[in-house]
C-alpha cells in the first residue's frame, strides 16, 4: 500500500491563506518526514483500545521506522490518541523481551533459555498435570473428559485466530475448562 505525502512546506499555500511567508532556512524548507523514504507501508490496527483505529506501519531495511494513523480509515481518518501515536515505542523498545526467560523453582534469578527447549518443557509439564488431574467421569458416572489442573488466561489483546487456537487446543484437545480472558474483568 503506497501513500503519497507531500514533504516540506508549501510556501505558495501560505500565501494563498493570506499569511506572509516568514524567512526560512534552507534546512527548514528541505525538511521532510522520514516516512517518505520508507521501503514499504503496511496497514495495521492499533493494539490499544477497541475503537479499531487503522495504522500505517512504515518499514525501511526490514525495521519499523514509524507508525501513524491511516487517513483512509472511516474510523479514525488518520488520527490516533496519545497511546496509539506511541505504538512505535510499544514495538521498538530496548526493554522488550527477545529471549525466553526461565526461573527454576526456588531460584532467585531469571535465566535465558532456548525457545525450543522451553516449548518442549512446557508441553511436558502440560501433559504431566493433565495425566495427574484428568477426570474422565463424575462420581455419578457422567462423562466429562476434564483437565481441572490447568488454566489459561487471555487474551483480549490478541488476534481472534490466536484465541481460536487456544480454545480449540486446550478445551477441544486437552479437556481444560478454565479458559478465560479480560472479558471477565
Amino acid at each position: 500500500m503506497a501513500v503519497e505525502r507531500e514533504g516540506g512546506l508549501d510556501l505558495g499555500m501560505l500565501g494563498r491563506l493570506g499569511m506572509a511567508p516568514q524567512p526560512m532556512s534552507r534546512e527548514s524548507i528541505e525538511k521532510a518526514p522520514r516516512t517518505r523514504t520508507a521501503d514499504k507501508v503496511v496497514a495495521s490496527v492499533c493494539p490499544y483500545c477497541a475503537v479499531g483505529c487503522s495504522q500505517l506501519v512504515y518499514v525501511k531495511d526490514k525495521r519499523i521506522i514509524d507508525i501513524e494513523g491511516n487517513p483512509a480509515s472511516p474510523i479514525n481518518e488518520g488520527t490516533l490518541c496519545p497511546k496509539g501515536a506511541s505504538t512505535y515505542q510499544y514495538l521498538v523498545n530496548p526493554n522488550r523481551m527477545t529471549t525466553v526467560k526461565y526461573r527454576a523453582p526456588y531460584s532467585d534469578h531469571w535465566e535465558d533459555r532456548p525457545l525450543d527447549w522451553a516449548i518442549d518443557r512446557i508441553a511436558e509439564r502440560i501433559r504431566d498435570v493433565r495425566e495427574a488431574s484428568f477426570v474422565e467421569r463424575t462420581p455419578d458416572g457422567k462423562l466429562i473428559n476434564q483437565t481441572p489442573g490447568i488454566a489459561t488466561l487471555g487474551g483480549a489483546t490478541m488476534d481472534i485466530e490466536e484465541n481460536y487456537l487456544i480454545k480449540k487446543l486446550f478445551n477441544g484437545g486437552l479437556g481444560v475448562v478454565s479458559i478465560e480472558n479480560q472479558a471477565r474483568i
Binding site: 490496527v45 477497541a50 475503537v51 526467560k101 531460584s107 487474551g155 481472534i160 486437552l174 480472558n181 474483568i185
Partner: protein, 820 residues
C-alpha cells in the same frame, strides 16, 4: 453513562463531538468529572453504583408521562405479553422476586415466564442467553397478549408498578443527582426520541464492573426500547469495550462457559450427556437459534475433521465439559487452594490487573508452573521477586516461563473491534530474536503435545490426536526470516467455514448443514472469508455515498452494521420517518433494502403471518424484528435467561456507605461474595470505610501498564499513581494537592499522591454527605515508572450472570501520609 469515552476511547469520541458540532446534545452521567464531562453539554453527577436507580427513574418518567413510542413498543416489544400469574415482583417482596431459595441463594425463575400455551419439547429450552448457563427456565414462545396493555399481568403494567417509586425525588435521594438535573436529562432524552429523532447510550466497564452490571445494561435496553431507539440509525446501546480484540475473544471465545459463536459449553449439570441431549437442551425451535445444530455440528467438524462422524457424535465427548463455575475469579480461588497446578497467561496480567490483586499474587505462589506470554516482563511474571509483599524467592516453588511475544505489526491476524468489526492487520516485519506470535506458540505447543501423545490409544487422548492442526502455509513468505509461522489466513478460513468434500469457502452461515458436510469454526464469523483469496477482514475500501462504509472490514453477523435493523422500519415496512430511513421494504422488488445488510430474511414480506406449525423463523411474523428471541420481540421483561431478576431493580453495591432506600434487601441476594477469610467485604455503613471508591483509566496509560509503562513518551505524560479527592474531603484529612496519601479498603491499603480537585464533588445522599475517591488503575511494580496497584483494594465477588467483580463501587478510607 458508565464510560469516560473522551479519556478511554478518544478517537471514537471524535464522532459524538462531530455530532455535537451538528447540533446533537451530549450528556455525561458519571461519578467523576472528566475530559468527557468537560466536552459534553451537560454533566450530571451520580453516586457510583446507583445507575439502576437513575435509569429506573427515566423509565418511570417515560411511562408516567406517556412519552413511550406507542407503535414501536406495541409491535416490537413484549409490553403486551402476559406473565405467569404466580409472578411476584420485587416491589411486593421487599427486594426479592418470586422463586427465591433463601438457603441456596438462588432463584427458581419458573414464575417469571410467559403465560400461554405450554410448549412441550425443544421449545421449552428457550432460555438461550449465551452467558449464564445454569438454572434458567424456559420462555414459552407464544405468550398470551393483551394489546390494550390493561391486564395487570401484562409486562407493561408490571413494569409500571415496578418503577412507580423511582420518582425524581427518590432518584435524587439514592443517586445524589439533583432533581432538576435529572429532569433535564429526562426531558432532553425523550424529546430527542421518536419517529424523527433517535438517541444513543454509550457505556463501558463503569456499568459492567458492578454486582448487577447486566441489569444496568438491561435497564438501558428497556429505556431504549420504550423510546424506540433500538435497531435504528443514531440509536442503540454502545458497549465501549476495553481491548483491541476483547469483542473477538468473547466471540471466539477464550471463555469457560461458551463454545465459539455463543453456543453453550457442554456441562455436567445439564442434560448434556450426548450430542443429541445437548442439541435438545440448547436449541430454541423458534427464531434464529433454531439453527443451533448446524452451528454445533459444523464446529465439531472444524475441530475434529475426518474423525468427527455421525456414529461418534462428531467427537462431542472430546470437548472438556464444565462442572461448575470455572470463571477467572473461581479459578483464582482454586489456584490459591492448590487445586490448579499449571497456569498459562497470554497477554494478561492478573497480578496487577485482576480484582484483589494481592490475592492473585498469593495464588500464583501455589502453582507448580506458570507460563506468561507477553512483550514485556509483567507483574505476573515477576510475582516471585517483585511483589510489594517482598516475597523471598527461596520460599516459592513455582517454575516460571516468560515467552517473548510479537506485537500486531509483527504478525498477520484479525482484531474484532467494539462495533463487531473484524479488521486484519498485515505483518510488516519479523518480531525480534526469539520473539514469536501467540499463534506460533500455541500451534507449536499443539504439535509437541500431539507428538507426546502420538502412541496413545486411550479414548481421552483421541480428541487431541484428531484435532485438525494444519496451519503452516504452503509456501512461507520469502520476505520473512521466521519460516515456521502458521498462516493466520488459514485459521481465519477455518473460522469462516468450508464444505468438507471440496473444501470450498462458505459464503455465509445460511449454508451450514447438520449432516457433517460443512465445517465452521465460529458460525457468527461466516462470510468473512467467503471465497479463496477474498479476506473481507482485510477489505479496506471506502464506499462513497454510503456512510455505513460496508466495505471497510467485515462486521459480524453477515456484515450487518446495525443489529435488529428491521426495527428501523414500521410494522408495514415503511421507514418511521424520511429523516431516520435505514432498512425498509421495497414492495416493487419484494425485498428489504437500505444502506446496510438487512437483519431479517431478505424477502420475507412485512405482512407475513407467524406460522405456529412452522419451525425457526417461520414462527416469527414479518414484523418481529428480534430474530434471536423466541418470540421475535425486544424484551422489556426478561422471562428467562437471567439469574437475578426479570426486571432491573435498585440494590446497593456489596460495599456501600448507605442503606438501600427502596428495600430492606440491601444488595443483590444472588451475588457470590466469595466468602473466605482472605476476602473480607465491609458491612453497609461500616464507619471504618465511609467513602465510595471508584476506578478508571487515563488516556496516557493502559490497563495494568504492560503496554504503556515501558513507554517513555507515555510515562512522561502520566508518570505517577494518584487518587482524586474533593477539596472538602482533602480538608477533612488535612491533605493538600500532591501530598502522599493512603487509601485503605477492607482488603488492603495503598499509597499514592493526592490530586485535590473540584472534579470530585461530594454528593448528598438522603440528607448526608458522601465522598467519592477516584482511583486510576495503571500502576504496578514493573515498567519504567511504578506505583501502587489499585486492584489490591478491590474485593473478589461474582455477579451471578457473568461472574464479574465490583471495581466500580466499593468503600474505603483515606489518610494523609505514607504506608509505614
Amino acid at each position: 453513562m458508565g464510560s469516560n469515552m473522551a479519556e478511554a476511547h478518544p478517537v471514537g469520541f471524535r464522532w459524538p463531538m462531530k455530532a455535537k458540532e451538528r447540533g446533537a446534545t451530549l450528556i455525561h452521567v458519571d461519578p467523576h468529572f472528566s475530559r468527557t464531562s468537560a466536552s459534553c453539554d451537560l454533566y450530571v453527577p451520580i453516586r457510583s453504583g446507583t445507575d439502576i436507580a437513575f435509569l429506573g427513574g427515566l423509565i418511570n418518567y417515560v411511562l408516567t408521562n406517556d412519552l413511550w413510542f406507542h407503535e414501536y413498543v406495541l409491535a416490537y416489544t413484549n409490553a403486551s405479553s402476559l406473565i405467569d400469574p404466580d409472578y411476584r415482583d420485587a416491589e411486593d417482596g421487599d427486594g426479592i422476586f418470586s422463586g427465591f431459595d433463601d438457603k441456596a441463594k438462588k432463584y427458581d425463575n419458573r414464575s417469571w415466564t410467559y403465560k400461554g400455551p405450554a410448549m412441550e419439547g425443544p421449545e421449552d429450552a428457550a432460555s438461550h442467553s449465551g452467558h449464564g448457563q445454569e438454572g434458567t427456565s424456559p420462555a414459552k414462545h407464544r405468550p398470551d397478549r393483551d394489546e390494550t396493555l390493561q391486564d395487570p399481568h401484562c409486562v407493561f403494567q408490571i413494569m409500571k408498578r415496578h418503577y412507580a417509586r423511582y420518582t425524581p425525588e427518590m432518584v435524587e435521594k439514592i443517586t445524589g443527582t439533583p432533581k432538576a438535573l435529572f429532569l433535564r436529562v429526562a426531558d432532553i432524552l425523550t424529546k430527542n426520541s421518536g419517529r424523527e429523532r433517535t438517541s444513543a447510550i454509550c457505556y463501558a466497564v463503569g456499568w459492567t464492573q458492578q454486582s448487577f452490571g447486566p441489569q444496568i445494561i438491561r435497564a438501558a435496553g428497556i429505556l431504549q426500547l420504550l423510546l424506540g431507539n433500538i435497531g435504528r440509525p443514531g440509536g442503540g446501546i454502545m458497549a465501549l469495550r476495553g481491548h483491541a480484540s476483547i469483542q473477538g475473544s468473547t466471540d471466539v471465545p477464550t471463555l469457560f462457559d461458551l463454545l465459539p459463536g455463543y453456543l453453550p459449553q457442554p456441562a455436567s449439570f445439564k442434560p448434556d450427556g450426548s450430542l443429541d441431549d445437548y442439541l435438545k437442551g440448547a436449541t430454541v425451535n423458534s427464531g434464529y437459534w433454531s439453527n443451533l445444530p448446524k452451528f454445533m455440528i459444523s464446529l465439531l467438524k472444524a475441530w475434529y475433521g475426518d474423525a468427527a462422524q455421525k456414529d461418534n457424535d462428531y467427537g462431542y465427548d472430546w470437548i472438556g465439559k464444565i462442572t461448575g463455575d470455572h470463571s477467572h475469579i473461581a479459578t483464582a480461588t482454586e489456584m490459591a487452594d492448590g487445586k490448579i497446578k499449571g497456569f498459562i497467561v497470554f497477554g494478561q496480567n492478573p497480578a496487577a490487573g485482576s480484582p484483589h490483586a494481592s490475592f492473585q499474587r498469593k495464588a500464583l505462589k501455589q502453582l507448580d508452573w506458570l507460563v506468561t506470554v507477553d512483550l514485556y516482563e509483567t507483574e505476573t511474571a515477576a510475582f516471585w521477586y517483585g511483589a510489594p509483599e517482598r516475597p523471598n524467592p527461596k520460599d516459592i516453588k513455582t517454575e516460571v516461563f516468560l515467552i517473548p511475544a510479537a506485537g500486531p505489526a509483527e504478525k498477520d491476524g484479525t482484531f474484532t473491534n467494539t462495533q463487531r468489526l473484524l479488521q486484519f492487520h498485515d505483518k510488516a516485519v519479523d518480531p525480534p530474536g526469539d520473539t514469536r506470535s501467540d499463534t506460533w506458540f500455541v500451534y507449536h505447543l499443539g504439535m509437541r503435545l500431539k507428538a507426546l501423545y502420538r502412541d496413545s490409544t486411550h479414548p481421552k487422548d483421541q480428541g487431541l490426536l484428531s484435532l485438525t492442526w494444519d496451519y503452516l502455509p504452503e509456501r512461507p513468505d520469502p520476505e520473512f526470516r521466521i519460516k515456521d509461522e502458521p498462516s493466520a489466513e488459514k485459521i481465519l478460513k477455518e473460522i469462516n467455514g468450508y464444505t468438507v468434500a471440496d473444501r470450498k469457502q462458505l459464503k455465509d452461515f445460511e449454508h451450514l448443514k447438520t449432516d457433517g458436510s460443512t465445517a465452521c469454526g465460529v458460525w457468527i464469523y461466516a462470510g468473512v472469508f467467503p471465497e479463496e483469496g477474498k479476506n473481507l477482514a482485510r477489505s479496506r475500501q471506502r464506499t462513497p455515498g454510503n456512510y455505513v462504509e460496508p466495505d471497510w472490514g467485515f462486521a459480524w453477523p453477515a456484515n450487518r452494521r446495525i443489529l435488529y435493523n428491521r426495527a428501523s422500519a414500521d410494522p408495514s415496512g415503511k421507514p418511521w420517518s424520511e429523516r431516520k430511513k435505514y432498512i425498509y421494504w421495497d414492495a416493487a422488488r419484494k425485498r428489504w433494502t437500505g444502506p446496510d445488510v438487512p437483519d431479517f430474511p431478505q424477502t420475507k414480506a412485512p405482512d407475513t403471518p407467524a406460522r405456529d406449525d412452522g419451525t425457526g423463523m417461520d414462527k416469527h411474523s414479518g414484523s418481529d424484528p428480534f430474530s434471536l428471541k423466541p418470540d421475535g420481540r425486544g424484551w422489556l421483561f426478561a422471562p428467562s435467561g437471567l439469574k437475578d431478576g426479570p426486571l432491573p431493580t435498585h440494590y446497593e453495591p456489596l460495599e456501600s456507605p448507605v442503606t438501600n432506600l427502596l428495600y430492606r434487601q440491601q444488595s443483590s441476594p444472588v451475588v457470590n461474595r466469595v466468602p473466605r477469610p482472605d476476602n473480607p467485604i465491609s458491612a453497609p455503613g461500616d464507619p471504618r470505610y465511609p467513602y465510595v471508591a471508584t476506578t478508571y483509566r487515563v488516556t496516557e496509560q493502559y490497563l495494568s501498564g504492560v503496554m504503556s509503562r515501558w513507554n517513555s513518551w507515555l510515562d512522561e505524560l502520566q508518570p505517577e499513581m494518584f487518587a482524586e479527592i474533593s477539596p472538602e474531603l482533602a480538608g477533612e484529612h488535612g491533605i493538600t494537592n500532591t501530598d502522599w496519601m493512603v487509601v485503605r479498603s477492607a482488603r488492603a491499603e495503598i499509597e499514592c499522591r493526592a490530586l485535590v480537585t473540584e472534579r470530585m464533588r461530594p454528593l448528598t445522599i438522603d440528607g448526608r454527605t458522601v465522598h467519592v475517591v477516584g482511583l486510576p488503575i495503571h500502576w504496578g511494580y514493573k515498567g519504567l515508572v511504578t506505583g501502587a496497584i489499585t486492584n489490591d483494594l478491590v474485593e473478589l465477588s461474582e455477579e451471578p450472570n457473568v461472574y464479574i467483580q465490583e471495581d466500580k463501587a466499593f468503600t474505603c478510607n483515606v489518610r494523609k501520609g505514607r504506608l509505614t
